[in-house]
Amino acid sequence: MHKSQLMDAQSEMLMPISDPVPGKAKTAGKRRARSWSSWLPYLFIAPWLIGFLAFTVGPLLYSLYMSFFDWPLMGGERFVGLQNYQRVLFQDDDFWEALGVTARFALLYVPTHLAASLGLALLLNRRCLGEGLFRTIFYLPSMLSGVALVSIWSWIYSREYGLLNYALALLGLPAVDWLGSPDWAMSAVVIASLWSLGGTMLVFLAGLKGISVELYEAAEMSGVSKLKQFTHITLPLLSPVILFNLVTTLIAAFQQLTMALLLTGGGPMKSTYMLAMYIYDTAFKYFDMGYAAAMSWLMFALILLLSASVMRFSSLWVFYENEVKSEAPADRSAT
């Protein structure tokens, strides 16, 4: 399959289609075509490539460079080699603590977020009256800027005057100190973050819309229950989208900043103090840029590792419609 794709690519061209022309012109055209076509894919990805080189690589390398310095931002950097990394890994309890909190958050957030947004997408995928309105409303919280969301949530979570405790009281349940108790704060942040699942939900929805109705019809005819249709048709065919959402949600979980920063400020008692916030504080509160850069790079490596392993195992469960896995082991090198 690898080879055939390669050939496909090679024969794609960006030249106007000429009429059949006599031999000589043809060969010339052919040569031009071949050199063109080997460049062609790069032309398509050029926007990213250029942008990446222009706006990402430089700053990235610079931050790597910074991570080898004691860099107090306000002047006077000093080369310290690997000291920053050593300090992060071996001397900084706060880093590990924040990492633990982040992991806890990710563990709570990623599955619930994915499940909830998939669930909503499934509901929205039904033809029904006012579906556009439903879509819009479910997406609403995602449209609010972080600041607005946070003030809303502090109102909802307020121990004394909060809506949530009001509701609990109506149900005869005791009030919960959502943001004031280290036991609840994490759940509070997770729940609040969940409210903005609109984006993920829409991605799922668009994915669902791409699954041919006929497959469900066929399954329906075979008497396959809705649940089995979901597990055996929807999930596999949605798997590329699930993978996308999984990876991006994972990344988002690790980079989570706004909600916790604004809602709890990392507290109470650091129960929601996550890695991204620690890096943020180190950079913009303590002005310790070198150290922040080192932590950033470690976090980057960590996320990369996680995502890479997710991607790696994805071949076991992700089904790509257009990529048939060939039995030949020799061909397995290509995706």
Binding site: M13, L14, F138, L144, G210, A292
Partner: protein, 277 residues
């Protein structure tokens, strides 16, 4: 006509939807409520669901407190241009990654994914320096131009979507004499419509609500975007809740409207009936 079971199923479905609507609309409703309240009503207990006398004037007051009209036009420029840029550049790149096999493709794609994970904090200052060197600081360029160079998130998203467009369509177009560009432009772009609506929505909202970018790259107030204007309006010391709520409501109206108009393009079966089998 409709059986009892079907009817009760439908009833259950709509009740569930209604419940969810309540849950999801609550935030904005509360914001609206806050915007209409008098300050003394903010902490009324038990909660009130509609202010005794709604103060629509709060909106006018909030709007005129700052040159929000200027901010609005800046925001629109930034959001619209970057949305256009993002839609085209990302789909182009995604198409490149999805439909070609070329040397280093997998490695490059891993880099695309990887660059999604770069923590923003530390590359911000070097980026600032770079834009400064380009003379872009205190212009809208840093907020617009990078979107013309495809964001990893969207590349990844679109690539996943392209992977479900039947290759037979590419082949048919090739037979019809379309070159790679035309296949992208005439076949893939329209077929990606649902996903492009997402890209557009996300990018528009991202630009619209972006606070950090404008904060860092803009100095002059006449260039501020709404989100920055709002944050700055909030200030460090004052906490004018009603005005902020009013501005928040105003701020999310344009994206709301746009989204409502765009979402109908997230329709089903974009590629069904394309091929048999």
């Amino acid at each position: 006509m409709i059986s009892l079971a079907a009817r009760s199923r439908r009833l259950a479905f709509y009740s569930l939807m209604l419940l969810l609507v309540l849950a999801f609309a609550a935030p904005l409703y509360w914001t609206l409520l806050t915007a209409l309240k008098a300050k003394s009503e903010l902490y009324a207990w038990p909660p009130i669901w509609w202010p005794a006398e709604p103060r629509w004037g709060n909106f006018v007051e909030a709007w005129t407190a700052q040159p929000f009209a200027v901010f609005l036009s800046n925001s629109l420029w930034v959001a619209l241009l970057s949305t256009i840029g993002q839609i085209f550049s990302s789909s182009l790149v995604a198409y490149g990654f999805a439909r070609f096999d070329f040397k280093g493709r997998n490695a490059l794609f891993m880099i695309v994914l990887g660059s999604m994970m770069i923590p923003w904090d530390v590359s911000m200052i070097p980026l600032y320096m770079e834009f400064n060197a380009l003379g872009w600081i205190n212009t809208l360029k840093p907020l617009i131009v990078p979107s013309f160079f495809a964001a990893p998130f969207f590349i990844f998203l679109l690539r996943q979507f392209i992977s479900s467009i039947p290759r037979e369509l590419d082949e048919a177009a090739r037979m019809d004499g379309a070159n790679a560009w035309q296949i992208y432009w005439r076949i893939h772009l329209p077929l990606m419509a649902p996903a492009l609506v997402l890209v557009g929505t996300f990018q528009f909202l991202g630009s619209w609500n972006d606070y950090l970018g404008p904060l860092i790259f803009l100095n002059d107030q006449s260039l501020y975007t709404l989100a920055l204007g709002l944050a700055q309006f909030k200030g460090l010391h004052s906490n004018n809740v009603t005005a902020i709520a009013a501005m928040t409501v105003l701020l999310c109206l344009p994206p709301l409207l746009l989204f409502f108009l765009a979402q109908r393009h997230i329709m089903d079966g974009a590629t069904s009936a394309a091929v048999k089998g």
